[in-house]
Symmetry: C2
Subunit: 252 residues, 2 copies
DNA sequence: CGGATTCTTGAGAGCTGTCAATCGTTGTGG
DNA sequence: CCACAACGATTGACAGCTCTCAAGAATCCG
């Protein structure tokens, strides 16, 4: 098979002991490279010769199906690593959504360093695992959740600042199309859902690309499901009834 | 965050040089444990004290959402590793679908061995990466594909033998409910789709739990999309028209 | 200001989920 | 051996959600 990791998230929530040099340190001395909004850092199919660390800005990782369908595999934020791979070609196109600043490292050199410093390999492994979990969560989100739940989850994701805290002001630098292709929906449904949230008084638009969450609890209960709660150790053998996760706020 | 790998697939397609002892060798001396069909190997939330290697049989990794929705994260086959984790609790329940034989290793001992033998770590890393890719492919499958495409993909997956070759005879040991919870559908839609495939002459039932593929090409073109073709390096900037991937066989 | 792009909104169709009934198989017990 | 229950699978009718197609509004940018 093949592997390519879209982004290795900076493990902000579970900080690694800082006594050791982190993966980021590999990039510290590299010069800053800037990309305009809309430009591509690399293309799907390109030779995977470099890794990048995001210093500033937001990017999207895009994959195109043969029939033209477009899928956004993930969004990249400052601190994320980009281009980690065991394949020699990039499997995704990565484009800047906002103006972006990156530091670049050759793959050869990166792998050398990883080989030389065991603690870096541990970190890489650990981050890969986080990425794995994120991918599976995304799978769950896409497979079993309604448009409302998807959008609520997305907004909560975007409302997290760099320390993982929830802010009431949410910046949405990406377009509706980006959101749609990330959530497996159409732009129309995304738009309608946001309108619905606004009409419900859960959020309010504060600008073209930003909004404020008025009822954080309502948004959370919409996002719903198993957010945060992992092991509840249920021993259900027969099929539990399928419930609609939305009734809560439909009446709001 | 959290991580837990459902299954580390045996990298059958890209065999690792056999000169070195593989991950499997760690389990070779462990006694065989048998589980009846329907029984659980471990439960979501249990202490993640052991790893398992599947010797025979098929299992499912199940996750339950708080609202009762059931998700099958993956199916496990002989050769797969099971319970690889960085967390101390299992995030999934794993149940035997058929009678199963496993070999067990304590997590402590597994991690010791991994630490001691660098080439094992490389293998683990590599498998983790494969698993990662599989998770992302699953994400794509679930987010952007119709019921027909999903089922076609599933059947192709099940038609792969242990060497990765496609066989015409397909065994489906799992129930419709398992398929549905894996594909993000309902049992009714799964059933209807299979009926449709049968009526189209693409497959035919050869037994209660097995079928034969009559038109492999048709099934493949149904499964469609970017199966196998990864980097086509398209530089499409504007949104391509969404096409129905099914018209081909609807007229068949 | 004007054009291009993005976003919103509406109407209608199609697909999938829901509810419900039936069929077929399996397994148990008389 | 048959009757019956239990379970899984199939099929039908219908509703609801999301997609599609289309038009219009809002915003951005030259």
């Amino acid at each position: 098979m093949s592997l390519q990791v879209v982004a290795i998230r900076d493990a902000r929530e579970a900080p690694i002991p800082l006594s050791q040099p982190g993966l980021s340190s590999l990039f510290d001395r590299q010069p800053l490279e800037r990309f305009d909004a809309g430009s591509a850092v690399f293309w799907e199919g390109d030779d995977a010769a470099h890794l990048f660390q995001v210093t500033a800005g937001i990017l999207r990782a895009v994959r195109l199906l043969s029939d033209g369908r477009r899928i956004i595999v993930g969004f990249l934020r400052p601190g994320d690593l980009l281009g980690v791979s065991l394949k020699d070609r990039y499997l995704y196109t990565v484009e800047a959504i906002t103006p972006v600043a990156l530091r670049r490292l050759s793959r050869r050199r990166f792998e050398e360093e990883i080989r030389r410093q065991p603690q870096l390999r541990d970190q890489l492994f650990s981050r890969l695992c986080d990425e794995m979990t994120a991918a599976q969560d995304q799978t769950v989100l896409l497979s079993r959740r309604s448009a409302d739940e998807k959008v609520a989850n997305f907004l909560l994701m975007m409302s997290r600042d760099e320390f993982g805290n929830c802010t009431r002001i949410v910046d949405i630098p990406m377009t509706r199309l980006d959101m749609a292709d990330y959530l497996g929906m159409t732009i129309e449904t995304v738009s309608r859902t946001i309108t619905k949230l606004t009409n419900s008084g859960i959020i309010t638009a504060t600008g073209r690309r930003s909004m404020m969450v008025l009822k954080m609890d309502a948004l959370r209960s919409l996002a719903d499901g198993d957010n945060g709660e992992t092991g509840c150790c249920q021993r259900v053998r027969d099929m539990p009834p399928h419930r609609d996760g939305l009734t809560v706020w439909k009446s709001a």
